[in-house]
């Protein structure tokens, strides 16, 4: 789904269009699953695990509370809301197990809800910083540093556009990316065939291409970076 459709669906959902809201939730089920799994650090199944239901409810809540003018990508905001709701859930679970009391639920007063929302927006700054640190760590797994990317960035705009396109193609190719994971090196010939770029260009811009591919390969992990680069 491209950004335009997401924005349109969001706008409609916020205006009260139930179908648009349902579509939005339905389309982002895998996103919710990824966020919840990364928080719980175990495999989960729809219909079996409460955490996934909480994630879906939190996503729906994010649709309600999202403010586009805050300049935070919607998915980043939704990720924060889901993580926050899950954290609440885990706290309550621990309390319930230790005291034997029932779950009080997420019913908040209006004031508390407002301050909680404000907290989520403030948290986004930290979330951005964490994403950038995560990106730097992901780069280092392939032996790439941000400092060298400064020198390796193509000077010409056309080259950059071509390489961004190639990185997107590469990110969508599971087989190519698996090869990359195993060997930590781009299969130049295969990439050349897939992207139409000459092997020489690919070899010359290997690290730059890889740095962009990492961003596009993990849209749920590098939400801010994905939303920032013009594709």
């Amino acid at each position: 789904m491209d950004g335009g459709t997401l924005e349109q669906l969001l706008a409609k959902a916020k205006e009260g269009d139930v179908d648009a809201r349902n579509t939005l939730v339905e389309v982002h089920r895998s996103f919710v699953l990824n966020v919840v799994v990364s928080s719980c650090r175990r495999s989960l199944q729809w219909g079996r695990d409460d955490e996934l239901s909480i994630g879906l409810i939190a996503f729906d809540e994010a649709v309600t509370r999202y403010e586009a003018e805050r300049n935070v990508p919607f998915l980043a905001f939704a990720r924060l809301v889901i993580k926050s709701r899950l954290a609440n859930y885990f706290r309550q679970e621990v309390r319930r197990l230790s005291s034997g009391a029932g779950v009080s639920g997420n019913n908040l007063t209006d004031d508390t809800a407002a301050s909680w929302t404000e907290f989520i927006w403030d948290r986004s700054a930290q979330d951005r910083a964490e994403e950038i640190q995560d990106y730097e760590a992901a780069l280092s797994e392939y032996g790439i540093s941000l400092d060298e990317l400064v020198c390796l960035s193509p000077k010409h705009r056309d080259s950059r556009i071509a390489l961004i396109g190639a990185a997107q193609t590469l990110a969508a190719e599971n087989e190519l990316f698996q090869h990359l994971g195993r060997k930590a090196r781009l299969p130049v010939k295969k990439v050349s065939i897939k992207t139409g770029l000459s092997p020489k260009v690919i070899e010359k811009n290997r690290k730059y291409l890889l740095a962009l591919t990492i961003i596009f390969r993990h849209p749920d992990r590098f939400i801010y970076l994905n939303s920032y680069i013009k594709k």
Binding site: A125, D127, R128, A129, E131, I132, Q133, Y135, E136, L146, D147, L149, V150, L152, S153, R157, R160, I161, L163, I164, Y208, A211, L212, Y224, L225, Y228, I229, K230
Partner: protein, 275 residues
């Protein structure tokens, strides 16, 4: 340049612009990681033409001066006894380099120390003295010294006769027969010899013996003393090298005789070697 801040350190930062450029530059203290920030890339100005021309001129002048002032190798003089040592000399026959080709040669060259800047005859004299002290030349025994000259252009001072006389003049052994074989060859042979890890003299000897059907392995040719090479293969080395060089011999004489008169070397008639 505006972009998402990826790294911040000591007042500079790296941003990723929306069109995919990773850019470094000065950044404000308030900018936070992951937020959109503006960096000011360091200015790069094209150097003025006159500066480029001046730098080029200085480089060329420097190279010219270096070529003019730095000593360049003019000739190579190799001395072979058991040790194989080669002197590199400039046009004024001043030593500018010393190289040992075999184990004994390397040992002797290091014992000789740094003799760069000294005249060639001083170097040859010192080398022969060290060879005597180390037992490579022995009093009262038959000794063979081979000296080989290689020069970039024809130079009488590096010719076989001159080199043979230079060795004879500084020959330190008082008693016993000695044969000084002086050879001259060209730079191609010198290059080929160096490639095979041999001094030019030993290489010429190896090739000559090969021509006569005697094959001696490179390692043996490099490490063996000339005396044992001759004895081992029943060869008169001065005869083997016949018309390619110059031979000086000193016949065996008693110590008492020698004390009364000056050292005498004879330009030997080349002995006939039965093939």
């Amino acid at each position: 340049m505006q972009g998402m801040l990826l790294k911040k350190q000591n007042g500079t930062g790296i941003v990723l612009t929306s069109d995919g450029t990773y850019c470094r530059g000065a950044i404000s203290e308030e900018a936070l990681l992951g937020e959109e920030a503006t960096v000011v890339p360091p200015r790069w100005r094209r150097p003025p033409l006159w500066l480029a021309a001046a730098v080029t001129a200085v480089v060329f002048l420097g190279l010219g001066a270096y070529r003019f002032l730095a000593p360049s190798s003019w000739a190579y003089v190799a001395i072979d006894v058991e040790p194989s040592v080669e002197f590199t000399v400039d046009r004024g026959l001043t030593v500018i380099g010393l190289k040992g080709y075999n184990f004994a040669g390397k040992k002797l060259a290091s014992a000789l120390g740094d003799i760069r800047g000294k005249p060639l005859d001083y170097g040859v004299e010192s080398l022969l003295e060290k060879a005597l002290a180390a037992g490579y030349l022995r009093e009262g025994e038959d000794n063979i010294v081979m000296v080989t000259g290689v020069c970039r252009q024809e130079d009488e001072r590096i010719g076989p006769e001159a080199l043979a006389n230079m060795v004879a003049d500084s020959y330190p052994v008082q008693r016993g027969k000695v044969e000084i074989i002086a050879l001259y060859t060209d730079t191609d042979v010198h290059r080929q010899a160096a490639k095979n890890g041999l001094s030019s003299g030993r290489y010429l000897l190896q090739q000559e013996l090969k021509r006569r059907g005697v094959n001696i392995a490179g390692r043996v040719m490099r490490e063996e003393s000339l005396r044992s090479l001759g004895k081992g293969h029943n060869l008169v080395l001065s005869a083997v090298m016949d018309d390619t060089g110059w031979v000086l011999t000193r016949p065996e004489s008693s110590f008492l005789e020698r004390r009364q008169k000056q050292d005498v070397f004879y330009a030997a008639p080349v002995p006939v070697q039965k093939e």
